[in-house]
């Protein structure tokens, strides 16, 4: 990709007047306090890169990667600059000029091949079960990740034995009359770490008139690649996924993961493919992509059987950045929760303050990530909720770690898991 000719680089850099609005909403700047961590600082540095004032060095990259890509700056920029896209473009440019073997192995090889990714997690499972933390470190994933590994390793939860893909058939017919044909985009983290979320989603969707197809050969959404300077790999993943999904006649392409739906959104597809011959394929694909909670509320208008005996639970909802900032989806997950009998929604003070997880960030920038997490956990604590709901597996992993770290007694769920329980009651009820 030609860095200097990417649309954000070409058209948006000059729009920055350094007003500093971004600085005031950036969770990383709030911790680091250096201007090199401020989003307007990133815009400035990308400009310096573009103009050749600074070289595409690892030193520059080190500063740009302070950013965890929560997109809060872009969402709040009065000049409408996609600061995160600029940052991603610059990271990729630098990575091209300074390729790192570890990243190539991880992002270009492992993370583009679901089978290899699955193999590494299976190895990790074995190692974790055998208590061989060291082995886990040497077998795959964790070894390739930079940063404060020993601490960061604690964030990784026990890997389940079976991934979602091995448990879910490719074709899941609708129970009753079929209203929609859904392509389910199974994200890597849901697949490997939280398969139950996918199981719940398939169950609720098929119970509500959807035929759900989980294409076997779909690959990663590309977000980890974008964040780690691998734009071209992200691009080829996008092309691959478009080919796979566009071959079907889906009404919608649904995913439970906020990060995936933002990576597959029209905006991001345009960023990745807009300049290529695949632009149109990207548009066709992205037009069908929808976050699961939005689909359940806006399209299915889902309802649950009245249940006066429903156990009351207090739930607080954490807005994943890639859902709330990137896609402005805030109401639907809440509405879904409100419709579930027994759920009382207790909002925290700053619902879309980032949790600091952001995919690989918690591993590559452990210290900063933990400071952000601590703030989030304090907000959650104040709500008194026993359940934290969120729509992103990366947030789920981070929040679960926060709960362990702060000895709290709550659990993290995807709203779809509560929705499945509420629908099950129906079966009991009518039986």
């Amino acid at each position: 990709m030609d860095f200097k000719n990417l649309p954000p680089v070409k058209e948006q850099i000059m729009k920055c007047v350094r007003c500093g609005k971004c600085r005031s909403v950036c969770p990383v700047f709030a911790e680091l306090r250096y201007e090199s961590a401020a989003p307007r600082g990133h815009v400035f540095m990308v400009q310096m890169l573009r103009d050749g004032v600074v070289k595409p060095s690892e030193e520059v990259s080190k500063r740009l990667t302070h950013c965890l890509m929560c997109e809060n700056c872009s969402a709040n920029c009065p000049s409408g600059i996609d600061i995160h896209e600029l940052n991603a473009a610059a990271r990729s440019y630098i990575e091209q000029k300074n390729p790192s073997i570890g990243k190539e192995l991880l992002f270009d090889t492992l993370w583009t091949k679901p089978s290899l990714l699955n193999l590494s997690t299976s190895l990790m499972w074995g190692a974790q079960k055998a208590g061989l933390q060291k082995l886990a470190r040497y077998t795959g994933l964790t070894k390739l990740l930079p940063g404060s590994l020993p601490q960061a390793e604690k964030i990784l939860e026990a890997v389940p034995l079976r991934n979602a893909r091995s448990m879910i058939p490719e074709i899941n017919p609708a129970r009753g009359e079929r209203e929609y044909k859904i392509g389910y985009f199974l994200g890597c983290a849901t697949d490997l770490l939280y398969p139950d979320i996918a199981l719940a989603a398939i169950e609720v969707l098929t119970n509500n008139g959807c035929e759900v197809i989980v294409p076997r050969h779909s690959k990663c959404c590309g977000l980890p690649h974008i964040a780690n300077g691998k734009l071209e790999t992200a691009q080829s993943l996008a092309i691959h996924n478009c080919q796979i999904y566009n071959a079907y006649d889906f009404d919608y392409i649904i995913t439970d993961c906020g990060s995936c739906s933002s990576a597959l959104s029209a905006k991001n597809m345009h960023f990745l493919l807009g300049q290529t011959e695949h632009a149109q394929a990207g548009e066709i694909f992205a037009a069908k992509v929808m976050d699961l909670s939005k689909f359940l509320i806006d399209v299915l208008d889902i309802s649950f059987p009245v249940n006066h005996n429903a156990k009351p639970i207090t739930v607080t909802y954490h807005d994943p950045c890639h859902l709330a900032n990137a896609q402005k989806i805030k109401d639907q997950p809440r509405e879904l929760l409100r419709r579930i009998p027994g759920v009382k929604l207790a909002e925290m003070s700053d619902t879309n303050y980032c949790c600091g997880g952001s995919g690989t960030y918690s591993i590559t920038h452990y210290q900063t990530s933990m400071k952000i997490l601590d703030k989030k956990m304090a907000m959650i604590k104040l709500t008194g909720a026993e359940t934290v709901a969120t729509c992103c597996p990366s947030c789920t992993m981070q929040l679960n770690y926060g709960i362990r770290k702060h000895n709290m007694k709550c659990s993290v769920v995807h709203p779809i898991q509560l929705a499945r329980e509420a629908s099950k009651k129906k079966a009991v009820h009518s039986a």
Partner: protein
Amino acid sequence: MEGASVRKDLLSLLGKEKVLTEELDLMYYSYDSSFLTQLKPETPWAVVLPASTADVQAVMKYAYDHQINVVPRGAGTGETGGSVALNGGIVLDLSNFNEIVEIDQKNMQVIVRPGVIHAELNKRLAEYNLFFPPDPGSSQMCTVGGMVANNASGLRAVKYGCTEQYVLGLEIVLPNGDLIYAGGIKARTLKNVSGLNLTKLMVGSEGVLGVITQIRLRCWPKPKARGIVMAVFDSLDDAPATVLEIYQAGIMPSGMEILDSSAISAVNMYKPEINLPDAEAILLFEVDGNPPSVDYEGNVIQEVAGRRARTVEWSTEPKRMAQLWEGRSVTATAAARVRADGTRVFAGEDISVPLSKVADTLRAIRKLADKYGIKVVNYGHIGDGNVHTAPVINTSIPEEVEQVKKLVHEIHLLAIELNGSTTGEHGVGAVRRPYAEMEHGLAVEYMKKVKQAFDDKGIMNPNKLF
């Protein structure tokens, strides 16, 4: 002295936690929000992030002994290059020195370190039913120290005045490292006429006299109610006329803001949900106080504005009020939206003119903009004649950059000619310095003497202000 040895000395003086020395890290301090530094960023020799008054004193003593320039910096949201080391030297980033030292509710005042963000301060004060009234558009970004140094004001200046009205006392580190207190060493009074008023001298001194390390601010009781009137005009001239009529009706709104047609479309493009009607001009009036007075004043404004306006909307509904007010406060940067390949530049953006000349000024600015072929968005604090002009250009086209420089120069001359000032609130810094003599005449010589008395070596933020 060389930058390299200054960096080495500062590191041994304060340690690496508080001193940035790597070239790349320093580059990020080469800008503020001015057009000047967008065109020509200047990297400082070193950046110090002091965490205490003692740190600031240590830096100043060192700089004084070695004759090194020092430039205080808050959040770098200024529009004048004020916080940038344009001639080399040390940047003192005070934005991390940001403690709210004491909220003295009993004495209606608050004591803060300079780095506290304005909006954060008001959030905390609200817990005590207090507030610090000046309300710059950059409230969420700028520091209170920067506000004091720039004598900032904003949307509510018309009723509540500028920062200067609220500063009761200051702790100041002088260029030679001395520590002085303006407004009384131990005083906690609201009234105090003892001594020469160094507090007022420091407010608006833009960092050329010393470094402000602590601020004692007067707070006001937070008004219980608010309301906003939006009046929509088909003729630009009707807007300033209405403002005068409101004053004559005996009303002092807490805000009187104008948006011209291009500002209206910029706001709508930034936040479509605000949905402002298309018009030649929109006036936003804010009234605040106790509920019955808010209703009364709101009614009078509706009645008076209704005589000339096409439509009048009255809102006390918090969401709508927040939308309208936000729409206005983001116009500053949202202005760029009016041109797909354009950028709003902060230059010639802050003239202040007599109330009676606002309409002439707006017309003259439009004419000048046409003359130079530059698109401009006009908005501002019309209640006190402070007109913000936002030229929107493509900064990668050199001819446009040259044209805009000429336009801005003429806008500044226009202000002086119309008995106005080149700046109503943003300050002088480096960009409006060339007009100092034209505006102040011989007084500039005395300003220089005052500076000399504080800063005999001329190291404090040199080449700014005059």
